[in-house]
Structures are given as structure tokens and as C-alpha cells.
Amino acid sequence: MPELFPLSPVHYVAAPLLAAFLLPLVAKLSRSFIKILPGLTFLYVLYVSAVLYPQALQAPIIEQIAGWAPPLGINLYYGPMAGLFASLFSALGFIVWLYSLTQMKQEPLDRFYILLMMLVAGATGMVLTGDIFNLFVFMEITAISAYSLTAFLREDDKAEAGFKYILIGSLASAFVLLGIAILYSYTGTLNLADLALNMDKVPLSVRVIVFGLFLVGFGIEAEIFPLNGWAPDAYSAAPAPVSALFAGITVKAALYALARVTILLFPFAGSMALISILGLVTLVISELAALHQKNLFRMLAYSSMGQVGLAIAALGLFTAEGVYAALFAMINHAIVKGMLFLTVFAMAGGSATLDGLNGMGRKKPILSLLFTLGAFAIIGLPPFSGFWSKLSVLTAMGQTGNYAMIAIVLATTIVEAAYFLRATGRLYLSEGNPAEGKTPLSAIAALAVLAAGILWIGFFPGSIDETLTAGAQDLLDTAKYTEGVLKD
């Protein structure tokens, strides 16, 4: 099937879309096929990224949808950074699918898999597209599948979390749409590259207002401090495979969009510094708030908001090392937090509380080991991937000379160590009656892949160095982006 037509970045979106539409039909034929189709789609998308990503490292692939040149039509910009994110998302999607084969029992399974596939496809679309309105549409796709997935489980307070998410989410989309309207009213175009070129048409005061709107709009999805009220509820209400995807994918896509828009359209000095400060504030507040959490998923939710804050702080440095460090932090966070969510669900089921972990070391030794590995990786202890990502963030901050930031990041790491080790310590308590149950092999396999990722990056951080530098280059080099897109 793959050779039937030339591979291009649009397959990232078209294949899952086709599968999503096919799934209701397929569900009528045979129940078991519901589980197989998403796997095939994710495999196909992984195959696409395996073929395309190396090409993207040399030169960004720019694809025009429906054959129209960029200012008229929509174009997909598949540079090293977009490639990195797209491959990461598809890999995470595949692992979560593998995991939820056996762990996800909630009934309307065909609907669950449709929403899951579209969550991943929407986020990949956000990363690929080069048109600002198209970015809005893909943000909506990701958001609407996220709303429905948050309220997927039947227990009582899930709908409440869903409503909070949709309330704040539609505020975000209204503000983004308003921002697009203002931009269009001044510049008259919608293509990102075209916009970047004639941003001078927009007077400075209006540019600040539009930056504010976009910051709030994308900030809500990227969980920046004052805007992330919905996040803890959404993470703890959604089924664990979905929360893993939230932490790994939706946040990263929104963060990428925010970064791309800010660097292209609003490069004035204050914007990135402001983002960096917001990131730090998010880091400090969510790490401290996580200290008192009894529900494990809520604790992981706060911790992932903190890690995203760290990535934002690094991104805000606006230097090549800063973006390099932000990318590294994002990848590490996606892998480790994904593993933690899935491990906790496998260990303690839906309502995992801190006391539920007591003495789990004896009953489920493999899972406890994985949890300990994840906890050490998140804190950033040496032999694991977290250490290198935190170190690159700190050196990036060191280079730009703000030592206070380094002190804050290190202080919050101690707080992070406090609540993660409290949980890890409980695993090895002698008393306590933890939940029984054998974890099926496919779930363990999914976790093992993530653990292998952590260890691989931990021992060979150089291996992903090249992709990260290319990605950082790609994001910062706006001239190459605009000239590449509008070359004809």
C-alpha cells in the first residue's frame, strides 16, 4: 500500500483520518478488528516518519495541499523540528495503543480508538501546518477529542472535569479566532510565512494585543500558570492512557504552536522573556502544589505542568542552546511522564492513591521497578535521560547569565524529589495490602519500550544531539522558513 503513491507529510493526517472513518464500518464486521486497525494506522504513520524524518533533517519538505502556492493554498512545513515532534507523537501513540489493548476495558471501544487516533492526528496536524487558520482547526480537532476523552469513563466526577476543560478550551479557541481575525484585517493573508513578511503592516500596539490573545489562547492548551486550572482535573479524570497522551502530545503541540507563532510573528524583545518568566512561575507553583496530593494521577498532573513550565522557561531564553534544552526537556518529559502514568494505572487502577502504593514492591516488583526508574528519571538523577535534559536546561540558563533562574530550577527539583521519593518509598514498605492482579504482557511490553528509551538516552545522550540541534536551528531560523515556503 505505501508505494502506491509518494510518501508526503500529509499522510500523517490522512491515514489516521481514513482509519477513523473506516472504524465504524469495520466495527460492524468484527469486534476484534476495532483493536487492530488503530495499531495498523500507528504503525503506518511510524513507517512514514521513519522514511520522511531523515529527509527532513537535510532539507525541510514543504508540501502544498491541493496544489496551490502558499499564499493561496495551505502548505505543510515538515522541517527537522516538526519531523521530530511528528515522529515522537506517532511513537507515543503506538505505545499507548499497545498499552490500552489490554488495560482499556470501558465499553464504547470503537469510539475510544477513533478519538485516540484523532487526538494524535490533530496534534501532528498542529505541528505540521503552515497556515494559521489551519492551525486553529487542528487545535480544535485535538481539543474536541480531548474533551470527549476526558469524560469517557462513566464514574461521576469525570463529566465535571470534562466540562471545566471545554469551558476553558472554548475560551482559548475564541481568543485565537479573534487574534486571527485581527491579523487578517491588517495583513490580509493567512499563511504563516506570508504573515511574517508583512507583519510591519500591523501597528505595534495592535501587535501587542494580538500577541496577548495568542499567548492566552495557546497558553491555555500549553498549561501556562494562570491558565492551567483545567489541567489537574482533566489529567486525573481521563483514562490513564489518555492522560499519558495529554502529557506527552497535546501540551507539546500547543507549546510548539506558541513558539512558532511567537518567534515568527512577534519577535519583539519582551515576548520571549515574558514567556520564560511565565514558564518559571508555572514550574514553581505546580511543583509546590504537587506536594500535598494524595491522588497519584493528580500528583502526576501537577508534576507534568511543572515539567512543561521548565520547558517553557528554557524556550523563553531565545538562544539556540535554550531551544535545544527545551526540546530535550519536552522529549524526556513525554517519554518519562507517559511511562509513569501507564505504570501507575497498571499498578493501582483508576483511583490510585498514595496509600494504595504501600508495599506494592512485593506484589508487582516489575512495575515498582519501572515506577522507581520513572521517578528517578523525572527528578533528573544521572544515569537516566532526565539528568541530561535538566543539565542542558541549566547550562543554557548559565550561558544567558541568569543565575537566579538556575537556583529556582534546582530548588524546585528538590521539591519534586520530595514528593516523588515519598511515593517511591511507599512501594518498598513492608506493611500495606496493595491491589492484586497480573499485568498482561502487552502492557509490560509498552512500558518496557519507554523504559528502554529512558535508558538509551540516559547512557547515550549524544544519539539525539543531532536531531535536537537541527530542530532548534529550524525553529529559530525564521528567514529560512519564510523564504523556503514562499520561494516560487
Binding site: F5, P6, S8, V10, A14, L17, L18, A20, F21, L22, L23, P24, L25, K28, E63, I65, A66, G67, W68, P71, L72, G73, I74, E107, P108, R111, F112, I114, L115, M118, G122, G125, T129, D131, F133, N134, V137, F138, E140, I141, I144, S145, Y147, S148, A151, F152, R154, G162, L178, I182, S185, Y186, G188, T189, N198, P203, S205, V206, I209, V210
Partner: protein
């Protein structure tokens, strides 16, 4: 007090938005991309209605995304209200006879109107979305009018999926013919005719069916959820 603070804040935001739009002269021709669309729509895409050509051809990817959003809303709705299937009779009170006969009489006309709109999408104003919604309102009248009426969910979801697949396949065909995704591969025909403008009518008819089936499904799911008392 809260109301006062809210009013003040909104006044503040309103002022800033107003200053943002102060610089935009109302009614002046400041089209950049719009001009190119208007000039190239008839020769390049063959569609007379520029809005439809933009929606389906130039920015077809948006509409693909758009259809997915609607599809996800229908699936999401079904997933959220999954456990709340109610008994048929608690749908609503006994409809009056006027409503029933009116519904029976009106339904075919509404469907005809809807079909006309999405078939002539590229000629007259309107298109897939508008036509589909009109058909859905037709089904709504049936649901309200006839007590025992139940939308056949199986048929609706099959129609929905087939329409969606035709849309995506139309896009993939563009790739198969060596062009780009969603590019027009059929002859443009003479503008103004029904069979003109390449794949635009086909896509819009597919969208029409899809939207019609989806919204009918959504309405029926919503109608048949339990009152919440039990």
C-alpha cells in the same frame, strides 16, 4: 461586586479590542489574497461560487479538518452519553395530529431542498454544510412529529463513514495521480453547469451526506437519553 468587576474587566478588554480595530477602515478594499482567489476561481477551479471554491479546493484541508471536528463531536457525544439510553416512550409528550401530518408532508420537501443546496454548492450560495443541516432539520421534524420514529443508527453511521471515506479518497486520488493531496483531477467542464468545477461537487455532495447523517445521529442520541430521574 463580582458583576461590577466583570463589567469593568470586560470594558477594559473591549477598549483594547476597539483600539485594535480602530486602524481597520470599514468597507475599504484591502484584499491581498482575496483578489487572487476572485481572479483565479473561475478559470482555475471552474466553480462559480468563490466561497465554495475556497472552502473546498483552495483551503480544502480546512474543510477536511472541519468535517473531522463534526465527526468527532458526534462520536464524542455518543461516547459521553453512552450509558444513558432511555426508554423510547419517555422521549416527549404525545405530538398533536397537526404536527404528525405536517411532519410527514414537509419531510420530503425539506430533503429535496437540502439535496438541491448541496448539489448546486459550486453554483449557488450554500453547499455541503448548509444542505446537510437542512436534511438534519428535516429528520428532526420527523423525530418530533412521529412518536415511534427512531433514526436507524446503523444506516446513518454507514452513510456517514462512506461519505467521509469518499472525501479522504478524493484527496488521496489527487496524490495517486502524481499531484498534491486534494488536488483537482477531473475536467473543469463549463462554469455554471451542474457537472462543472472538477471534484468540488463530488466532495460537497459527500460532505452534505456526511453532515446530514451525523447531525441526525446527534439529534437522535440527544433525544433518546434518559430524563435523568431514574
Amino acid at each position: 461586586m463580582k458583576k461590577l468587576l466583570a463589567a469593568f474587566l470586560l470594558g477594559f478588554i473591549g477598549y483594547y479590542l476597539y483600539t485594535a480595530f480602530a486602524g481597520v477602515p470599514f468597507g475599504e478594499n484591502k484584499m491581498e489574497v482575496g483578489k487572487d482567489y476572485l481572479e483565479t476561481t473561475v478559470p482555475k477551479t471552474g466553480a462559480v461560487n468563490t466561497v465554495t471554491s475556497i472552502v473546498v479546493n483552495y483551503r480544502g484541508f480546512d474543510t477536511l479538518g472541519e468535517v473531522t471536528v463534526l465527526f468527532l463531536a458526534a462520536t464524542g457525544l455518543g461516547a459521553i452519553l453512552f450509558g444513558m439510553k432511555g426508554k423510547p416512550e419517555d422521549k416527549h409528550r404525545e405530538p398533536s395530529s397537526i404536527l404528525t401530518t405536517g411532519a410527514k408532508a414537509l419531510f420530503p420537501i425539506i430533503v429535496l431542498l437540502g439535496a438541491y443546496i448541496f448539489i448546486h454548492g459550486h453554483l449557488t450560495p450554500g453547499g455541503g454544510f448548509q444542505g446537510g443541516t437542512i436534511i438534519a432539520t428535516g429528520v428532526l421534524i420527523l423525530i418530533l412529529g412521529i412518536k415511534s420514529f427512531h433514526a436507524n443508527h446503523a444506516l446513518l453511521s454507514v452513510m456517514e463513514s462512506l461519505a467521509g471515506i469518499t472525501f479522504v479518497v478524493a484527496g488521496i486520488l489527487g496524490l495517486a495521480f502524481g499531484k498534491n493531496f486534494l488536488e483537482n483531477i477531473l475536467p473543469l467542464g463549463t462554469p455554471g453547469q451542474v457537472l462543472s468545477a472538477g471534484i468540488i461537487p463530488i466532495i460537497y455532495i459527500a460532505v452534505g451526506f456526511k453532515v446530514g447523517a451525523e447531525l441526525a445521529g446527534v439529534l437522535d442520541t440527544l433525544m433518546s437519553t434518559t430524563r435523568g430521574e431514574e
